[in-house]
């Protein structure tokens, strides 16, 4: 990685013009590569134009690294081609599965963290990193169900994947908060136990109460501003591990670009604070 990133924003097509010309210091953007795995046309041109002015990160949702199968070769090949074209500052994926036996279920699905899963996912990450010729970051997903049969804690499992494959990690603080709330564990303890030296990127997003169950079940909807509790966990994290590239994600109930930029500026200021204090 040649660029040291500060705080960035998930890029939405609705904000393209404003995003492109935004002069904010150190602003970078993240996109889902799946939306750009096309042969040609305005989408790719759009991404290349953004890339010419801002660093871009590719955040995949569909390599299905936790499936009990190698990543789809065609999908991976297209991702490699896109990465070659865009030269992203970061590439990341999830500790989850989505594509299974040729069908894509558009979600990040859970699995039992067993020794066999560890083997398989290590292999899949290694294969992906070999194809891309670089290190990727693996993100902790949000959780909604209590799954029997985990042999590993999630943070330990991720740390072991990083140890085995040399991959980095992407710590989604909102996912930690949502999972801790839904399954009843301590978010702060999870954040404190997370292997800080492997963190290549941090995600911050908003959650919403389940439409039927209300506060009993929080959903990682990316449809609201980052919650105060999540900001607090974020500050706790960077106080311990130091500043890392941080992304504000928003996918639904989209506000004006300026509103998102203000959230991003908050993260930017928090990241710069320790540097300023040290200077």
């Amino acid at each position: 990685m040649t660029t040291v990133l500060s705080a960035g924003l998930g890029l939405k097509p609705q904000h393209y013009e404003t995003a492109l010309s935004c002069p904010a210091d150190g602003l970078w953007f993240e996109v889902h590569p799946e939306n750009y795995l096309v042969a040609g046309g305005p989408r790719l041109a759009w991404l290349e134009t953004i890339r010419a002015r801002h660093p871009v990160s590719l955040h995949g949702v569909a390599l299905s690294l936790a499936a009990d199968a190698p990543p789809d070769a065609i999908h991976l090949g297209r991702l490699v081609a896109l990465a070659g074209r865009i030269q992203p500052a970061l590439i990341s994926e999830h500790l989850a599965w989505s594509t299974w036996r040729g069908a894509y279920q558009p979600d990040l699905l859970p699995f039992p963290r067993t020794a066999a899963a560890l083997e398989r996912i290590s292999e899949n990450i290694a294969r992906t990193q070999d194809a891309l010729g670089r290190r990727i970051a693996i993100e902790n997903p949000a959780h909604y169900v209590r799954l029997d049969g985990h042999a590993w804690d999630e943070a330990d499992f991720l740390a072991e994947l990083a140890r085995r494959t040399g991959c980095g990690l992407l710590l989604d603080v909102n996912n930690v908060y949502v999972g801790a709330h839904n399954l009843g564990y301590c978010a702060a303890a999870y954040i404190d136990a997370f292997p800080g030296d492997t963190v290549m990127e941090i995600h911050l997003a908003g959650h919403t109460p389940d439409p039927e169950l209300g506060q009993a079940l929080l959903v990682d909807s990316h449809a609201a501003p980052v919650a105060p509790e999540v900001w607090a966990l974020y500050q706790r994290l960077i106080a311990r591990i130091g500043p890392r590239p941080t992304l504000i994600e928003r996918d639904d109930n989209l506000p004006e670009f300026a509103t998102l930029l203000a959230e991003r500026d908050t993260a930017h200021a928090l990241l710069r604070a320790p540097l300023a204090a040290a200077a």
Binding site: E34, A45, G102, D107, F111, D148, G149
Partner: protein, 273 residues
């Protein structure tokens, strides 16, 4: 937490979990393994079920906007849910999802009284295909004009990678599609006759125009690698009064072609941009 001595195999877990995502009653003990039933009984399991269905339905709605406007959002989303349960996306680039949606609408019982839906869906699909097609420069009309007239008949025009066309003999599919795709409130009576459409993307955005039966037949023959002489015959067969000169001019101006080559058997086929 009790540790299982023999945890469910990962592939089995994924088979059963995937099935439970779409099953009408996923928590039924008879429907799945005890491990998956235990997950499906939890309220949080609905988040995965809802997210998967919403992802599919949203993608179909984004990919078939003319259909969605024609039938209304509620009808569309109900139909899309039936389609999604039948066929999940084959790939993660959801832009491509719904290749079989036109065919589905043709056999979807509640759509029986809307026989134009499959045709309109085909044009929505054409839009997507044109939108993501490889970038390619358009054949310069001047290059064709510079050919000696005697060579014209043996020249093969190659349709542009983004060009899509179809003739619908029974229904005014183009007008129905255009009014809904452009979301224009044109209340004028539609003349109920056959119509064709041409979608192109010479650069930037996808564009569309009506195309008659002769034009569609002409492009079909060009796409099959046949020379202009054969394309002209096909156009005249499709439409006896076809104005070939005007047709060529229209297609060239629209950016329907990307290259041309000579099929003269004595010279090597050579393509020129």
């Amino acid at each position: 937490m009790t540790m299982r001595t023999t945890p469910i195999e990962l592939d089995r877990f994924q088979d059963e979990f995937a099935r439970a995502l779409l099953a009408p009653d996923p928590a039924a003990a008879s429907a799945t393994t005890p491990e998956i039933a235990a997950l499906a009984r939890q309220p949080g399991f609905a988040v995965y079920r809802n997210t998967v269905m919403k992802g599919c339905i949203d993608a179909l709605q984004a990919n078939y906007p003319a259909i969605a406007r024609l039938v209304g959002e509620d009808w569309f989303r109900a139909a899309a849910a039936v389609f999604a349960r039948e066929r999940l996306p084959a790939q993660a680039t959801l832009l491509y999802y719904g290749e079989a949606f036109a065919e589905f609408l043709g056999r979807f019982e509640p759509a029986a009284e809307l026989p134009y839906l499959p045709g309109v869906a085909r044009l929505d699909r054409f839009w997507t295909e044109a939108h993501v097609a490889p970038d390619e420069s358009v054949l310069d009309a001047a290059a064709l004009a510079s050919l000696a007239p005697e060579r014209l008949a043996a020249t093969v025009l190659r349709p542009h990678a983004a060009a899509r066309w179809a003739w619908f003999a029974e229904q005014p599919i183009y007008t129905i599609w255009r009014r809904n795709r452009e979301a224009c409130d044109d209340e004028r009576e539609i003349d109920w006759r056959g119509e064709g459409a041409l979608l192109v993307r010479p650069r930037g955005a996808v564009r569309w125009a009506p195309l008659d039966a002769a034009g569609c037949a002409f492009l079909d023959v060009c796409a099959a690698g046949q020379p202009l002489a054969a394309a002209a015959v096909a156009a005249l067969e499709a439409q006896v009064d076809a104005d070939l000169a005007r047709l060529m001019k229209t297609l060239l101006a629209a950016g329907a072609f990307a290259g041309m080559s000579d099929i003269d058997p004595d010279s090597k086929a050579e393509e020129r941009p």
